[in-house]
Symmetry: C2
Subunit: 149 residues, 2 copies
DNA sequence: TATTGTTATACTCTATAACTATA
DNA sequence: TATAGTTATAGAGTATAACAATA
Protein backbone atom coordinates (compact mmCIF):
# COMPACT_ATOMS: atom_id res chain seq x y z
CA UNK A 1 0.00 0.00 0.00
CA UNK A 2 1.38 3.32 -1.09
CA UNK A 3 1.17 6.15 1.37
CA UNK A 4 0.55 9.36 -0.51
CA UNK A 5 3.25 11.87 0.15
CA UNK A 6 1.93 15.03 1.78
CA UNK A 7 2.76 17.66 -0.80
CA UNK A 8 2.86 21.32 0.01
CA UNK A 9 0.10 23.27 -1.69
CA UNK A 10 2.68 25.79 -2.88
CA UNK A 11 3.92 23.14 -5.31
CA UNK A 12 0.60 22.50 -6.98
CA UNK A 13 -0.47 23.76 -10.38
CA UNK A 14 -3.46 25.42 -8.77
CA UNK A 15 -1.41 27.44 -6.34
CA UNK A 16 1.28 28.36 -8.81
CA UNK A 17 -1.23 29.48 -11.41
CA UNK A 18 -2.75 31.78 -8.82
CA UNK A 19 0.53 33.32 -7.72
CA UNK A 20 2.12 33.57 -11.15
CA UNK A 21 -1.11 34.84 -12.67
CA UNK A 22 -1.46 37.61 -10.10
CA UNK A 23 2.21 38.50 -10.46
CA UNK A 24 2.09 38.70 -14.23
CA UNK A 25 -1.21 40.54 -14.26
CA UNK A 26 0.22 43.18 -11.94
CA UNK A 27 3.08 43.74 -14.34
CA UNK A 28 0.71 43.85 -17.29
CA UNK A 29 -1.42 46.40 -15.47
CA UNK A 30 1.62 48.65 -15.09
CA UNK A 31 2.52 48.46 -18.75
CA UNK A 32 -1.04 49.07 -19.86
CA UNK A 33 -1.23 52.31 -17.88
CA UNK A 34 0.16 54.30 -20.80
CA UNK A 35 -2.78 53.17 -22.93
CA UNK A 36 -5.24 54.13 -20.19
CA UNK A 37 -6.41 50.53 -20.07
CA UNK A 38 -6.64 47.84 -17.45
CA UNK A 39 -6.65 44.11 -18.15
CA UNK A 40 -10.43 43.91 -17.94
CA UNK A 41 -10.75 46.57 -20.62
CA UNK A 42 -8.45 44.53 -22.80
CA UNK A 43 -10.56 41.47 -22.13
CA UNK A 44 -13.66 43.30 -23.25
CA UNK A 45 -12.01 44.51 -26.45
CA UNK A 46 -10.68 41.04 -27.05
CA UNK A 47 -14.08 39.42 -26.71
CA UNK A 48 -15.58 42.00 -29.03
CA UNK A 49 -13.08 41.14 -31.73
CA UNK A 50 -13.53 37.42 -31.26
CA UNK A 51 -17.26 37.18 -31.29
CA UNK A 52 -18.87 40.61 -31.01
CA UNK A 53 -21.71 41.10 -28.57
CA UNK A 54 -25.39 41.52 -29.23
CA UNK A 55 -25.85 43.08 -25.82
CA UNK A 56 -23.85 44.12 -22.81
CA UNK A 57 -25.57 41.43 -20.80
CA UNK A 58 -24.32 38.77 -23.16
CA UNK A 59 -20.86 40.23 -22.84
CA UNK A 60 -21.06 40.05 -19.05
CA UNK A 61 -21.91 36.36 -19.37
CA UNK A 62 -18.97 35.63 -21.64
CA UNK A 63 -16.57 37.60 -19.45
CA UNK A 64 -18.07 36.15 -16.26
CA UNK A 65 -18.36 39.51 -14.59
CA UNK A 66 -21.35 41.45 -13.30
CA UNK A 67 -23.36 43.43 -15.86
CA UNK A 68 -22.71 46.57 -13.88
CA UNK A 69 -19.00 46.12 -14.43
CA UNK A 70 -19.49 45.89 -18.17
CA UNK A 71 -21.21 49.25 -18.03
CA UNK A 72 -18.22 50.84 -16.33
CA UNK A 73 -15.70 49.22 -18.65
CA UNK A 74 -17.72 50.19 -21.71
CA UNK A 75 -18.13 53.76 -20.45
CA UNK A 76 -14.39 54.11 -20.28
CA UNK A 77 -13.75 52.46 -23.63
CA UNK A 78 -16.37 54.65 -25.26
CA UNK A 79 -14.75 57.74 -23.78
CA UNK A 80 -11.46 56.59 -25.30
CA UNK A 81 -13.16 56.16 -28.66
CA UNK A 82 -12.32 52.47 -28.69
CA UNK A 83 -15.89 51.24 -28.98
CA UNK A 84 -19.24 52.57 -30.10
CA UNK A 85 -22.55 51.87 -28.50
CA UNK A 86 -25.40 51.44 -30.93
CA UNK A 87 -28.97 50.96 -29.82
CA UNK A 88 -30.53 47.91 -31.39
CA UNK A 89 -33.42 49.34 -33.46
CA UNK A 90 -35.38 46.14 -33.03
CA UNK A 91 -35.10 46.25 -29.26
CA UNK A 92 -34.10 49.63 -28.02
CA UNK A 93 -33.13 48.29 -24.62
CA UNK A 94 -30.10 46.61 -26.09
CA UNK A 95 -26.78 48.24 -26.76
CA UNK A 96 -24.67 46.64 -29.40
CA UNK A 97 -20.99 47.30 -28.86
CA UNK A 98 -18.68 47.59 -31.82
CA UNK A 99 -14.94 48.03 -32.06
CA UNK A 100 -13.76 51.20 -33.76
CA UNK A 101 -10.58 51.58 -35.76
CA UNK A 102 -9.00 53.14 -32.69
CA UNK A 103 -10.23 50.23 -30.62
CA UNK A 104 -8.49 47.78 -32.91
CA UNK A 105 -5.31 49.81 -32.70
CA UNK A 106 -5.55 49.81 -28.91
CA UNK A 107 -6.16 46.09 -28.85
CA UNK A 108 -3.12 45.49 -31.03
CA UNK A 109 -0.99 47.75 -28.88
CA UNK A 110 -2.16 45.87 -25.79
CA UNK A 111 -1.27 42.66 -27.59
CA UNK A 112 2.24 43.89 -28.28
CA UNK A 113 2.72 44.72 -24.61
CA UNK A 114 1.49 41.29 -23.58
CA UNK A 115 3.88 39.66 -26.02
CA UNK A 116 6.77 41.60 -24.57
CA UNK A 117 5.87 40.29 -21.15
CA UNK A 118 5.58 36.77 -22.57
CA UNK A 119 9.12 37.07 -23.85
CA UNK A 120 10.43 38.21 -20.51
CA UNK A 121 8.54 35.61 -18.52
CA UNK A 122 9.43 32.66 -20.69
CA UNK A 123 13.03 33.70 -21.31
CA UNK A 124 14.38 30.97 -19.01
CA UNK A 125 12.44 28.24 -20.83
CA UNK A 126 13.66 26.07 -23.66
CA UNK A 127 11.89 26.87 -26.94
CA UNK A 128 10.01 23.58 -26.80
CA UNK A 129 8.75 24.42 -23.33
CA UNK A 130 7.58 27.85 -24.41
CA UNK A 131 5.56 26.29 -27.16
CA UNK A 132 4.24 23.65 -24.78
CA UNK A 133 3.17 26.27 -22.25
CA UNK A 134 1.30 28.27 -24.88
CA UNK A 135 -0.42 25.18 -26.19
CA UNK A 136 -1.34 23.82 -22.76
CA UNK A 137 -2.72 27.09 -21.48
CA UNK A 138 -4.83 27.43 -24.61
CA UNK A 139 -6.16 23.95 -24.01
CA UNK A 140 -7.04 24.73 -20.43
CA UNK A 141 -8.61 28.04 -21.35
CA UNK A 142 -10.80 26.36 -23.95
CA UNK A 143 -11.78 23.66 -21.52
CA UNK A 144 -12.78 26.09 -18.80
CA UNK A 145 -14.78 28.18 -21.25
CA UNK A 146 -12.46 31.16 -21.40
CA UNK A 147 -12.77 32.96 -24.75
CA UNK A 148 -10.05 32.15 -27.27
CA UNK A 149 -9.36 33.87 -30.55
CA UNK B 1 10.57 41.41 -44.66
CA UNK B 2 8.24 39.65 -42.31
CA UNK B 3 5.28 41.61 -41.05
CA UNK B 4 4.52 40.56 -37.49
CA UNK B 5 1.03 39.26 -37.19
CA UNK B 6 -1.06 41.30 -34.76
CA UNK B 7 -1.99 38.78 -32.13
CA UNK B 8 -4.82 39.30 -29.74
CA UNK B 9 -3.66 39.77 -26.15
CA UNK B 10 -6.18 37.18 -25.04
CA UNK B 11 -4.00 34.53 -26.67
CA UNK B 12 -0.83 35.40 -24.83
CA UNK B 13 0.67 33.46 -21.96
CA UNK B 14 0.53 36.61 -19.83
CA UNK B 15 -3.17 37.12 -20.31
CA UNK B 16 -4.10 33.47 -19.94
CA UNK B 17 -2.07 33.10 -16.78
CA UNK B 18 -3.97 36.02 -15.32
CA UNK B 19 -7.39 34.74 -16.24
CA UNK B 20 -6.77 31.07 -15.43
CA UNK B 21 -4.98 31.97 -12.23
CA UNK B 22 -7.83 34.13 -10.99
CA UNK B 23 -10.36 31.49 -11.97
CA UNK B 24 -8.54 28.67 -10.24
CA UNK B 25 -7.79 30.77 -7.17
CA UNK B 26 -11.47 31.59 -6.81
CA UNK B 27 -12.27 27.89 -6.81
CA UNK B 28 -9.51 27.17 -4.35
CA UNK B 29 -10.82 29.91 -2.07
CA UNK B 30 -14.23 28.19 -2.03
CA UNK B 31 -12.78 24.83 -1.12
CA UNK B 32 -10.55 26.28 1.58
CA UNK B 33 -13.52 27.87 3.36
CA UNK B 34 -14.12 24.71 5.35
CA UNK B 35 -10.64 25.01 6.83
CA UNK B 36 -11.20 28.68 7.67
CA UNK B 37 -8.29 29.57 5.45
CA UNK B 38 -7.74 31.74 2.41
CA UNK B 39 -4.99 31.26 -0.15
CA UNK B 40 -2.78 33.89 1.48
CA UNK B 41 -2.96 32.00 4.78
CA UNK B 42 -1.87 28.88 2.97
CA UNK B 43 0.97 30.82 1.39
CA UNK B 44 2.15 31.94 4.80
CA UNK B 45 2.03 28.42 6.21
CA UNK B 46 3.80 27.13 3.14
CA UNK B 47 6.63 29.62 3.43
CA UNK B 48 7.01 28.79 7.11
CA UNK B 49 7.49 25.13 6.31
CA UNK B 50 9.89 25.83 3.48
CA UNK B 51 12.20 28.23 5.16
CA UNK B 52 10.81 29.46 8.46
CA UNK B 53 10.91 33.15 9.24
CA UNK B 54 13.09 35.04 11.66
CA UNK B 55 10.65 37.91 11.69
CA UNK B 56 7.32 38.90 10.26
CA UNK B 57 9.01 41.57 8.23
CA UNK B 58 11.18 38.99 6.53
CA UNK B 59 8.07 36.97 5.82
CA UNK B 60 6.41 39.99 4.22
CA UNK B 61 9.41 40.33 1.94
CA UNK B 62 9.32 36.70 0.85
CA UNK B 63 5.58 36.80 0.30
CA UNK B 64 5.77 40.19 -1.38
CA UNK B 65 2.93 41.62 0.65
CA UNK B 66 2.74 44.52 3.07
CA UNK B 67 3.94 43.87 6.63
CA UNK B 68 0.56 44.93 7.93
CA UNK B 69 -1.02 42.09 5.98
CA UNK B 70 1.31 39.56 7.58
CA UNK B 71 0.08 40.75 10.95
CA UNK B 72 -3.51 40.09 10.02
CA UNK B 73 -2.79 36.71 8.46
CA UNK B 74 -0.69 35.67 11.46
CA UNK B 75 -3.39 36.85 13.88
CA UNK B 76 -5.86 34.54 12.22
CA UNK B 77 -3.49 31.59 12.00
CA UNK B 78 -2.54 32.03 15.65
CA UNK B 79 -6.21 32.06 16.63
CA UNK B 80 -6.60 28.77 14.73
CA UNK B 81 -3.65 27.32 16.62
CA UNK B 82 -1.76 26.81 13.38
CA UNK B 83 1.23 28.93 14.31
CA UNK B 84 2.89 30.23 17.44
CA UNK B 85 4.47 33.61 17.90
CA UNK B 86 7.62 33.61 19.96
CA UNK B 87 9.45 36.78 20.89
CA UNK B 88 13.09 36.63 19.96
CA UNK B 89 14.92 36.90 23.33
CA UNK B 90 17.90 38.51 21.62
CA UNK B 91 15.77 41.20 20.02
CA UNK B 92 12.42 41.52 21.63
CA UNK B 93 10.96 43.48 18.73
CA UNK B 94 11.01 40.39 16.58
CA UNK B 95 8.34 37.73 16.50
CA UNK B 96 9.48 34.37 15.30
CA UNK B 97 6.64 32.38 13.77
CA UNK B 98 6.61 28.62 14.06
CA UNK B 99 4.30 26.00 12.64
CA UNK B 100 2.43 23.91 15.18
CA UNK B 101 1.34 20.30 14.72
CA UNK B 102 -2.10 21.60 13.88
CA UNK B 103 -0.57 24.01 11.43
CA UNK B 104 1.15 21.15 9.63
CA UNK B 105 -2.10 19.24 9.52
CA UNK B 106 -3.86 22.28 8.08
CA UNK B 107 -1.16 22.78 5.49
CA UNK B 108 -1.43 19.15 4.44
CA UNK B 109 -5.19 19.39 4.23
CA UNK B 110 -4.87 22.52 2.10
CA UNK B 111 -2.41 20.60 -0.07
CA UNK B 112 -4.90 17.79 -0.59
CA UNK B 113 -7.55 20.27 -1.70
CA UNK B 114 -5.15 21.90 -4.13
CA UNK B 115 -4.26 18.51 -5.57
CA UNK B 116 -7.91 17.72 -6.10
CA UNK B 117 -8.26 20.91 -8.07
CA UNK B 118 -5.13 20.07 -10.04
CA UNK B 119 -6.73 16.79 -11.04
CA UNK B 120 -9.89 18.51 -12.18
CA UNK B 121 -8.13 21.27 -14.04
CA UNK B 122 -5.67 19.07 -15.86
CA UNK B 123 -8.10 16.26 -16.62
CA UNK B 124 -8.31 17.19 -20.33
CA UNK B 125 -4.53 17.09 -20.71
CA UNK B 126 -2.42 14.17 -21.83
CA UNK B 127 -0.26 12.81 -19.00
CA UNK B 128 2.87 14.17 -20.64
CA UNK B 129 1.34 17.62 -20.78
CA UNK B 130 0.35 17.49 -17.13
CA UNK B 131 3.90 16.72 -16.20
CA UNK B 132 5.17 19.42 -18.53
CA UNK B 133 2.85 22.01 -17.02
CA UNK B 134 3.95 21.18 -13.49
CA UNK B 135 7.59 21.32 -14.47
CA UNK B 136 7.30 24.55 -16.45
CA UNK B 137 5.36 26.38 -13.76
CA UNK B 138 7.92 25.34 -11.18
CA UNK B 139 10.63 26.69 -13.43
CA UNK B 140 8.85 30.00 -13.86
CA UNK B 141 8.10 30.26 -10.15
CA UNK B 142 11.73 29.71 -9.29
CA UNK B 143 12.84 32.23 -11.86
CA UNK B 144 10.50 34.93 -10.62
CA UNK B 145 11.54 34.34 -7.03
CA UNK B 146 8.34 32.68 -5.86
CA UNK B 147 9.04 30.31 -2.95
CA UNK B 148 9.24 26.64 -3.88
CA UNK B 149 9.39 23.69 -1.56
C1' DT C 1 17.53 57.60 15.71
C1' DA C 2 16.37 53.23 13.30
C1' DT C 3 13.70 49.08 13.15
C1' DT C 4 9.77 45.72 14.16
C1' DG C 5 5.35 45.15 14.78
C1' DT C 6 0.78 46.99 15.10
C1' DT C 7 -3.29 49.86 14.32
C1' DA C 8 -5.91 53.24 11.65
C1' DT C 9 -7.20 54.66 7.44
C1' DA C 10 -7.92 54.72 2.55
C1' DC C 11 -8.10 52.87 -1.99
C1' DT C 12 -9.18 49.52 -5.74
C1' DC C 13 -11.92 46.17 -7.57
C1' DT C 14 -16.11 44.13 -8.07
C1' DA C 15 -20.57 42.41 -6.72
C1' DT C 16 -25.47 43.10 -5.12
C1' DA C 17 -29.43 45.81 -4.90
C1' DA C 18 -32.29 49.47 -6.36
C1' DC C 19 -33.93 52.05 -10.20
C1' DT C 20 -35.14 53.49 -15.26
C1' DA C 21 -36.48 52.59 -19.80
C1' DT C 22 -38.26 49.53 -23.00
C1' DA C 23 -40.65 45.44 -24.28
C1' DT D 1 -44.68 41.70 -15.85
C1' DA D 2 -40.04 40.76 -17.60
C1' DT D 3 -35.64 42.25 -19.39
C1' DA D 4 -31.46 45.44 -20.62
C1' DG D 5 -29.01 48.79 -18.88
C1' DT D 6 -27.64 51.92 -15.35
C1' DT D 7 -26.71 53.94 -10.80
C1' DA D 8 -26.05 53.53 -5.84
C1' DT D 9 -24.24 51.10 -2.31
C1' DA D 10 -21.51 47.73 0.05
C1' DG D 11 -17.90 44.31 0.87
C1' DA D 12 -13.41 42.03 0.27
C1' DG D 13 -8.74 42.52 -0.07
C1' DT D 14 -4.73 44.97 0.50
C1' DA D 15 -1.76 48.98 0.73
C1' DT D 16 -0.08 53.35 2.96
C1' DA D 17 0.49 56.11 6.87
C1' DA D 18 0.58 56.88 11.70
C1' DC D 19 1.87 54.99 16.08
C1' DA D 20 4.14 52.02 19.86
C1' DA D 21 7.79 49.29 21.57
C1' DT D 22 12.45 48.06 21.48
C1' DA D 23 17.08 48.55 19.97
Amino acid sequence: MVEKEARSPVNTVTFRLGVLGAWQEARYTERLAGLELKPKHVALLGVLRIKGAESQLELAGVMRVAPSLVVQLADHLEALGAIERVRDPADRRRQRLTLTKDGIRLLNAAGDLAEELDEELTAPLAPADRAALTRILERLAAHTGIPTE
